[in-house]
């Protein structure tokens, strides 16, 4: 069955909006995402999911040359970054888009659906 990567990307606007929010403000979103995760598991679509720390916590390792180079910070200095993701299994793109609609509602932001290369 095809597998899809459902990405929650943050941009300047959503980052600014999140900065304004208190943990109490965030609570309904966490609960909605929790409920969505349970639905994915109950229907057998769930493969993996996670929320990521901000890019400040990133470290890049490049061992493509002779010695490994370790650098602080994200791979690219972009205003946008990946905030979290789901990896799901779905019959086809329509089924994956249906999950993405529910995921987007739960996390209150756009969700990008990308198919995995065939294994």
């Amino acid at each position: 069955m095809p597998q899809y990567f459902l990405a929650v990307n943050h941009d300047e606007k959503s980052i600014a909006a999140m900065a304004e929010m208190t943990p109490e403000d965030m609570q309904p979103m966490f609960e909605a995402v929790g409920a969505f995760n349970e639905q994915l598991q109950a229907e057998g679509a769930w493969l993996f999911a996670g929320g990521l720390q901000t890019p400040d916590a990133s470290t890049v390792v490049d061992n493509s040359g002779e010695t490994a180079v370790v650098t602080d910070g994200p791979f690219s200095e972009s205003k946008e970054y990946l905030g979290g993701f789901w990896i799901i299994e779905a019959a086809d793109l329509d089924a994956a888009l249906e999950w993405a609609k529910r995921g987007s509602k739960a996390c209150q932001g756009p969700v990008e659906v990308r198919p995995f290369q065939e294994g």
């Binding site: 095809p2 019959a91 793109l93 329509d94 290369q117």
Partner: protein, 401 residues
């Protein structure tokens, strides 16, 4: 030769759709269809055209596809797959919703594809137009169009865009997407931006696909509505251009309108009225039915048209609908009232040439020649359809004072 190619084009959508169902691979389906044409061009001139040319082409193409899979299966382990697809399902559709072309049109018009790719794929896979023809119709280089189509086909395969009719709950929304593609193709033919005045090939193709869709989904009133709208518009085609100049509706020679197309369009509009689930295309078709019902321009039932526009505006409160509605207002309440309505749309429609044309015509009727002239000039700066340019230039130059 030409007869064979015509049959091939007419049957192309059926062949590709049928092969897509059996083999699940658009590239394979297209290559096999092309190979079947080569065989037909070799055999038919000597043997004569077979009694069911579409069936013959599909069977031949399916055989070519199987040959290809077998050849490739020697290299990669697809042999089993090839054995499994020995399926001789008959070519003829077994029921309305079973038609392979219906699935294919939903695949081609999938919302996950870019709008311009949907149009191109629909014309290529269902209409059987060549990539070169589609590129020419939309004024892009052939390589660009080829890339666009290749990229879309790759996404269909890679992202697993389904090849099936959407479920009932999603059907109205997805049908709307298909209708938008057909209407776009039709309008590009009718109001060509390609430096020629009308592209018959595109209007004909949109109507042909509209007929297929209507035969497949007879209970979707918006499908009926769009077909009626296209037919009633197409019916006026010959009267719409005189010499090299556009002729606006009130001045058209109504004797040159196609009566059979009007009769067919009116019958479809009545069908919509019976179903009584109005939508955008149905209302536009009904407005066109009122126009084509009038014996002459003065006999037009403007209050009926204004009522239909009011209904349309509730459904689709866009500035373009408001602009068209103003034409009926001008007839019923006079040009001053209509102009006041139109002027409120200026911000939204600044770059839309019909806005300036409508203003120019209303200003002209109010005797405000200098302002009318300025409005014609703005409109002329925004269009590239030669027949419309010629008409507006003449209108502008007739102004006195």
């Amino acid at each position: 030769m030409e007869a064979i190619e015509r049959v091939y084009r007419e049957e192309y959508g059926r062949i590709v759709a049928s092969l897509m169902r059996r083999f699940g691979d658009l590239d394979l389906a297209e290559d096999a269809a092309a190979e079947a044409l080569v065989v037909a061009l070799e055999k038919w001139p000597d043997d004569g055209v077979p009694p069911n040319p579409g069936g013959w082409l599909t069977t031949t193409a399916a055989r070519k596809a199987l040959d290809r899979i077998r050849r490739e299966s020697h290299r990669d382990a697809k042999h089993q797959a090839a054995q499994m697809i020995e399926d001789d399902t008959p070519h003829e559709p077994t029921g309305v919703v079973e038609d392979d072309r219906l699935r294919l049109i939903f695949t081609c018009c999938h919302p996950a594809l870019a709008p311009e790719a949907r149009v191109a794929l629909t014309l290529r896979l269902l209409g059987g137009l060549t990539v070169a023809e589609i590129a020419q119709a939309f004024l892009v280089p052939e390589t660009t169009m080829a890339q666009r189509i290749t990229r879309a086909k790759k996404k269909i395969a890679g992202a697993a865009i389904p090849y099936r009719v959407p479920e009932a709950a999603d059907l109205p929304e997805r049908v709307a997407g298909v209708l938008a593609v057909l209407y776009l193709v039709f309008n590009e033919g009718y109001l060509s931006t390609a430096g020629t005045s009308v592209r018959d090939d595109l209007t004909t193709e949109a109507i042909r696909l509209g007929r297929i869709l209507h035969s497949l989904l007879p209970d979707e009133p918006e499908v009926t509505g769009l077909l009626a709208l296209m037919l009633l518009t197409e019916a006026r085609r010959d009267a719409r251009i005189a010499g090299d100049e556009l002729v606006p509706l009130p001045e058209q020679d109504r004797g040159a309108w196609s009566r059979p197309l009007i009769a067919e369009g009116h019958a479809l509009v009545r069908e919509c009225l019976r179903v009584n689930r109005p939508g955008r295309y149905q209302l536009l078709a009904a407005i066109n039915a009122v126009h084509t019902d009038a014996p002459d321009a003065a006999g037009t039932d403007w209050s009926q048209i204004a009522t239909l526009y009011a209904q349309l505006a509730r459904l689709d409160p866009s500035p373009i609908v408001a602009l068209n509605r103003a034409v009926a207002t001008a007839e019923l309440d006079g040009p001053a009232v209509a102009l006041a309505d139109v002027d409120r749309l200026g911000e939204a429609l600044e770059g839309y040439h019909p806005f300036h044309v409508t203003r120019a015509e209303l200003l002209r009727r109010l005797g405000r020649s200098a302002e009318a002239r300025a409005a014609y000039d703005v409109a002329l700066g925004l269009i590239d359809n030669p027949a419309e340019s010629a008409y507006l230039t003449r209108r502008r130059d007739q102004l006195r004072g």
